[in-house]
Every structure is written in structure tokens, then in C-alpha cells.
Symmetry: C2
Subunit: 470 residues, 2 copies
């Protein structure tokens, strides 16, 4: 079949209007979110149904055409953009965007993979229920992309990763068959866990087209506090105290260093500063109460009081209004924006055993300071589940762009340290093309062989998102 | 190699004392828990280390000898006993029984697969932490068996299945290699989810030899209540009310019909009856408070009061002492024992979308009554996660043993009804050899093909627990 013949066949499946080939039309799909890389594609196709996805995959399988699935294109590891060869068909899920059903009594929602996360949250909210997955890109990212990368976010401490929020999947396999695993069951032990194999596989084993999501009763109140701390070690001690005192009402626990707060203050001077003084570290806490706002505030204040008595907390502010709560979260949310405004930096999305995260920060930052005196470590993240964003910016006076040349050696220092502390070099962003070459360094040959065996078993032609993960 | 040569090689690996061949020695390993089936084995071997397990698997791979892994032998689906061919090596994990490490700060415990569940619970408790997996066989079953079958139990509503309680695994693959996936991380997105593939695979893809388990802060108080209800539908309405009112403090929600309570009363007349009157259904509720016993009781009583006002609850008793709480749970725990005392019955371990479980009970029981007038439906279970034990005993006056002849037709009625309501024919027990022939009836060809492809990829010689699941 000629290339024209292939494209005609795509048009026959998805409709001519939904097969884009003109450079001006395809460009927005080909560059990654951070603007670091632009690939090429044979065409961009946007099917409207699972049946169309399956027909497209069968077409690609017949002709050996690689397929790159793409959701909201907000990924940070080059997982949803094609390489530069121009051989791939880019399959956008943006037209697969229906909420198929909500069963409020079963606390489940069945959705198309292309639904935007914020729309999923809103649909749950309209039923008085909570879909707790929450992350910075929620206005653009799709639930299919969240599932493909097993996205994390700020609610993992209480609700788990996307994996834990999904009960069932619909997947178009690499052979172009539809696996209907859209089960809304809390317990189902009838064979191998295909669901969790496709979740986190970044589209390399098949294309997720639908999902059954778990919903939760909406808490009556969410209470936010910011506390000032002397060290990451104290942040860990406080986490332990909070968990013992508050149990599952503790729904968020974010760490931010003073470097982060100074960065936010200098780029967003209109954001209010939470404390008159400065402290080395801060923790942002969120409690959710199913009883009442008063109950939540009482519980949180009681815990903070104990922490003050124990000398763990230097100062604290508990938000007493939604506006105040938003202002506290705004500091946290502006860290990546302030970093972007400051210039390019070397990012790491890592996780550690919670117990070792303070030691990791200390050891790794010391090592980097030895190698690059004055280097800026911008460290913040979801300490409650051991996930840190550990980003490195140049010393004062050194150009950000020039410093990027150090990316290789700095990655090596950070990732080697992560491995030494028993951590992971990708906590919530995935592997994509960006970290593919890092895997063989940190995974055993046994594990990589098992992964390759699974890839060969489920995608024998190697057409599903090639060059990602493996 | 002769059979003697093979056994000598086993002895060289595990030590002569740990390779059993005399019928008197092997017998306890060859009969299933319910005493329904006895298989045969070439030998029973009990290795003491992961290295010994790996060496045994390599030996079996070289000689094409099937391996049947066995934990506490408490499974109910013939998953851990060999077939009658006598070709298999039965590998008992009972000597792999060390708690390797506890990291209280990371809330993780690393254990050998052969640790008995109750010992794991106790080791967590000794650190002031909770390992929430709880089920009837906990005094005998092993954590490796719990993982291999993804066991459920009474805490799933709040804490999830065994799958959700595991962060990392160590597995001996079908090639006899050791995959060290003993990670204690809450977030790790670096490739395919091997962990969840081995969990629930019932030893058909490899042998789980170790695991990193998730621990939780110990609640300060657990409060139990029993409420009397008119119908399963009211039990569902009450569940919804309780969840909205109590949020994640609701840690248990069990349904029992009056048939169950009468059965318990007739076989265990010394157990106190909770209510002076009789009601069609009962729900056993458990709340866990991280604040105080008083807080838990207040919350539970407040919710029950609302339910009484709404006419959902007919009567209620809240336990005010540990002894009273144990007495309420004892009723629930004696149901299977009372059933066993009454004679053999036809068991089903099923799950449904929670929203459809009351309709399922009504429709299926009506159909069975039509076919077998006077039939006894003994229905109880974990309604909070849609898991019912739906057991069928003969009408009064019909011998239990003779009624077992109806097992085939009754399974068909129940399982067809489960499928019609979107449920699963195995909620928490697994498939084993018992339900293997049922799978093709209720799984799509696409799903079975995917499962077979995974089996062929990870166990190409077909030596891992053959005849189970697929």
C-alpha cells in the first residue's frame, strides 16, 4: 500500500476531517509540553469511538506502521510524541471524551480515555462524590494519559496513585482487538491482572480507550495549614505525628524548602508571604473531615499544638477561609512556574522510602554543592508518599542554558544517590523516551528481561509507541 | 536423569531432611483444606532460602518437572495441591518464615513468603502499627498465599485487597532466576507492573518468595455495632449513609441474613443472640477512630440515629466493651463453622457492583426457589465491597451429600446470574483448579488469549502450577 493508500484508509475509518497531515495542523501535536523536542508523524488521527481506534490499530498492524497514542500532551518524559523518523501515526484520544456512565451507589464512573481530568472531577462533584486524582495539569491532561503513566499528584497519601483509582479498563490491544475489562468491582480474582499491566505501560502494550474509576464520598471540609520547620528530618517527624494523630483524615503533606519560597516570592511578589520570619523548610498540610469544618480544624490544631510542644514546628498558620487555603496552596503551585520563569533547570521526579528521604536530601545536596559550589537545589514535593521534585538550577551568575550542559553528570549524581537510598528515578512521570536509557543502569537484567518478554508477548510487531520505556 | 537422581538433586539443594517422599510424610500436603480432593506428588520439598527455591526451579526446568507452590494450604479452590498424576514437585514455603525487616518510619515490613498472616499482624502490632489484612484462615495461611491469590477479607472496604497492601515482591521466575522487586516505595513508575502481575497469579507465573508490605498507623479504638434490617436493599442504603457520615473511619461492613443467624444459633446455642426479636437481615459495622473510643462511639451512634430516623434500621446494638465487640464478630465468624456442622453445601464466592448486589440476591434466590422449593440460601459477606458468600444448602429433609449432585446446575444458575449483573465468579478465593473450567464461559476470548500470551511469555515450559487458572 502506498502512503496515500494508507492515509485514505485512515480517512475511511475516522472521517477525512479527523486525519491531519498539513504541517500547520499537525504541529501542535508533535512538540512536547516543555517545548524541548519536536517529532514527526505520518499523520495525526483523532478517532471518535473505540471501534475506530481498533480499526486504526488493525490497519497499522497490517502495514507495520508504529502508533503513538496521545492524550492531553502534558507528559514530561517525551512519552506521547513521536520520534523524528516520520513513520508513526499519532493517535489523539481527544475525541474520545464522553462520560459514559456514573453509578453513584457503586461509587464508579465509566469514562472515555480522552476525558480531561478536570471534567472527570467535575462530573463526580456534580453527584456529590469525589474523584481524588489531582495534579497541576488537570485542566489539560486526560484520564487515559493519567492511566497510561499511572499519574500521582497531591492526593496519593490518602487515595493512592491513578492505579489505585481504577477498577476496570477498556483497551485496544496491539492486534486491534477490544478487551472489555470495564468491571466496576472492588474484588475480582479471576486470572491475571491485565488492568494493572496496561496501567503505567505508557501506551507500549495497547491503547486504553475507556476506564471505570473509583469515586469517594465528598468530605464535608478540607482544612489547610502551613508550618515552618528546621529541617527535612523534622518534616518527617511531623509527618509521623500527624499520621498517628489524624489517621486517614490527613490527605496531603507537601514539603517545600526556603529556596522554593524565595523563588516564588521573587517571581510572584504579589503572593502573600505566610510568615514574618524565614525558616529552612515548610510543610503544607491538608486534612479532610467527613464530620465538619470545626472537627477538621480542631483535629489539625490539636496535632500542630503537640508538634509545637515537641519542638518540631517553629511557626504555623491554619487557613480559616477558602481564600486563605487557596493562598497557601498557591505558594506550592507557583514553585514550578517560578522555576520556569527563572530559566531552564535540571529536573528529577524521584521517590524514596519515606524514612530515608531526609537523609537523601542531605547527602545529595552536599555532594552537588561539592561539585558545583553555589548550586541551587529546588526541592519540593509530596513528602507524604516519598516523592520529591528535586530540581537543580545553576549557581548565581551562571547562565541557565549553559548549565544544562551539566545535565548528564548531574542526573548521574542524583540518580545514583536515589538508587543508593533504595528509591526510584521516576516516581510519577513515567519513563517515556527521556529516561529510557537510564533504566538499564538501575533495573536488574532479570527485570528488564521480564519486561521485554511482556512487550514481545503483547506487542509482537513492536508497533505500540516504540522507543518508549524499553 | 532417573527419578532417584532428581530426588538426590533436590536433597543436595534443600537438605535430605526437607525432601519428603514417604506417603505418611507427604499426605498432609496433598489434600485440600476442605478435604474434597487428594493429589499426588513426586516429593514435597521445603527450601529454607530464596536461593534454594531458585535452584529447585532451575532443576525442575531442566527436567520438565511441574512445580506446585504451597503456603498454608488454606485455599478453597484447589490452587495449592497437585493433580493426581504424581509428576509434580510440591514446594512448601513453610521454612521461608522470617520477618526480614520492619521500617516503622516508612510503614513497611519485608517478609518471607512463608510467614503466617497472624505472625505478620503481630509483628506490625509490636511496633504500634497495623497490617490490616484479616481473614478467617489468618492463623494458618501464609502471606505468600495471600499474595498469590490476592486475598480479600474483612478490611477491604477501607484498606483494599492484598494487592493494595503490597509495595514490592521478590519472585523466583519460571527460569529459576530471582527478581528482586523488594521496593518500599509509594510511587514508582519505571516500567511494567510486574508486581501486580505476580499477585493473584496463583503461582502459575513464578513463585513469590518475599514481599514488602504496607503498614498503617494503629487506630486508637475500633467500635462494633450490629443493626437489624428489613432487606438487603436497606443494607445498601445504610452503607451509603454510613460512608457519607463516617468517611474512612468505616472499616468494616458485613451483611448476614436471618438464615445465617438461625444456623449459628442452632449449632452454637451458647453464643448470645443479639436481639430479642428476629429480622430478615443484619449488618455488622466496624468503625476505627484515630482520635478516641469516645469519638468513634459518638460518630457511630450519630450515624445509626439518622438511620433509625430514616426508617432504615429496625434495631441496633453498639458494643461498649471489647468482650461485647468480640461477641458480635463471633456471630459472623461462626457462620461458616455452623454451615460445616450442618453438612456439605454448594459455595460461591462472588462479587457484584455494590449498587446491584441487593437486586442480585433477590433475583437469584427467587430463581433457585423456583427450581428447588425450600432451598436454603446462606448469604453473608463483605457487602461494603460487593463480595458475597452465597452458599446453597438443601431444603429441609434432603440429605446434604445427595444435594451435592446439583452442584453443576446450581453453579450455572448462580454464576450466570452473577455475570448478568456484571459481577465476578471469584471475588477473593481465586480460580485454582476448581473454577478453571468456568472461566471460558465468563471471560471473553480476547481476555483469555491475553492471559495465555502472558503465561507463555513468563512460563514457556508450562511448569509453574499447571492446571491452575488456565
Amino acid at each position: 500500500m502506498t502512503d496515500d493508500g494508507f492515509l485514505d484508509a485512515c480517512r475511511a475509518i475516522a472521517g477525512p476531517a479527523h486525519v491531519l497531515t498539513a504541517p500547520g495542523d499537525t504541529a501542535p501535536y508533535l512538540t512536547d509540553w516543555r517545548g524541548r523536542f519536536t517529532g514527526r508523524a505520518r499523520a495525526v488521527v483523532a478517532p471518535a469511538t473505540t471501534g475506530e481506534v481498533a480499526a486504526l490499530v488493525r490497519l497499522c498492524a497490517r502495514h507495520g506502521v508504529p502508533i503513538v497514542p496521545q492524550g492531553g500532551r502534558t507528559g514530561l518524559v517525551l512519552g506521547s510524541v513521536p520520534d523524528v523518523s516520520g513513520t508513526a501515526l499519532l493517535l489523539s484520544t481527544r475525541r474520545l471524551n464522553r462520560v459514559r456512565a456514573i453509578d453513584a451507589f457503586n461509587r464508579t464512573m465509566t469514562v472515555d480515555a480522552g476525558c480531561v481530568l478536570a471534567d472527570v472531577q467535575a462530573a463526580a462533584g456534580a453527584q456529590g462524590l469525589l474523584f481524588p486524582l489531582s495534579l497541576a495539569a488537570e485542566g489539560s491532561c486526560t484520564i487515559g494519559g493519567n492511566l497510561a503513566t499511572n499519574a500521582g499528584g497531591t492526593g496519593v497519601l490518602r487515595y493512592g496513585n491513578t492505579r489505585e483509582l481504577c477498577l476496570g479498563l477498556e483497551v485496544v490491544t496491539a492486534r486491534g482487538e477490544v478487551w472489555d475489562g470495564l468491571r466496576g468491582l472492588r474484588k475480582d480474582n479471576t486470572g491475571y491482572d491485565l488492568r494493572d499491566l496496561y496501567i503505567g505501560a505508557e501506551g507500549t502494550l495497547g491503547i486504553i480507550t475507556g476506564a471505570v474509576l473509583k469515586l469517594f464520598p465528598q468530605p464535608k471540609a478540607a482544612i489547610t495549614a502551613l508550618v515552618a520547620l528546621c529541617s527535612p528530618g523534622d518534616a518527617l517527624q511531623l509527618l509521623k505525628l500527624m499520621e498517628a494523630h489524624c489517621g486517614p483524615t490527613l490527605t496531603g503533606y507537601e514539603l517545600m524548602s526556603d529556596v522554593c519560597l524565595r523563588l516564588v516570592a521573587s517571581h510572584f511578589p504579589n503572593l502573600p508571604q505566610p510568615f514574618p520570619g524565614r525558616y529552612p523548610q515548610y510543610a503544607l498540610l491538608e486534612l479532610s473531615s467527613h464530620e465538619s469544618e470545626r472537627h477538621g480544624i480542631g483535629l489539625l490544631e490539636g496535632a500542630i499544638e503537640r508538634a509545637l510542644e515537641a519542638g518540631l514546628v517553629q511557626d504555623a498558620v491554619v487557613a480559616t477561609s477558602i481564600a486563605q487555603s487557596k493562598a497557601l496552596w498557591a505558594i506550592r503551585e507557583h514553585i514550578p512556574l517560578a522555576q520556569a520563569a527563572a530559566g531552564k533547570n535540571i529536573k528529577h521526579d524521584i521517590s524514596l522510602p519515606i524514612s530515608r528521604s531526609a537523609d537523601f536530601i542531605h547527602a545529595t545536596s552536599s555532594r552537588l554543592e561539592e561539585l558545583y559550589p553555589g548550586v541551587q537545589v529546588v526541592c519540593f514535593g509530596h513528602l507524604g508518599d516519598g516523592n520529591l521534585h528535586y530540581n537543580i538550577a545553576p549557581p548565581e551568575g551562571i547562565a541557565h542554558d549553559a548549565f544544562l550542559d551539566e545535565q548528564g553528570p548531574i542526573n548521574r549524581v542524583v540518580h545514583d544517590s536515589v538508587a543508593g537510598f533504595g528509591g526510584s528515578i521516576s516516581a510519577e512521570h513515567g519513563v517515556g523516551a527521556l529516561k529510557r536509557d537510564e533504566l538499564p543502569r538501575y533495573k536488574s537484567a532479570v527485570e528488564l528481561d521480564l519486561m521485554r518478554a511482556l512487550k514481545a508477548a503483547l506487542d509482537p510487531l513492536g508497533i505500540m509507541n516504540p522507543g518508549k520505556i524499553l
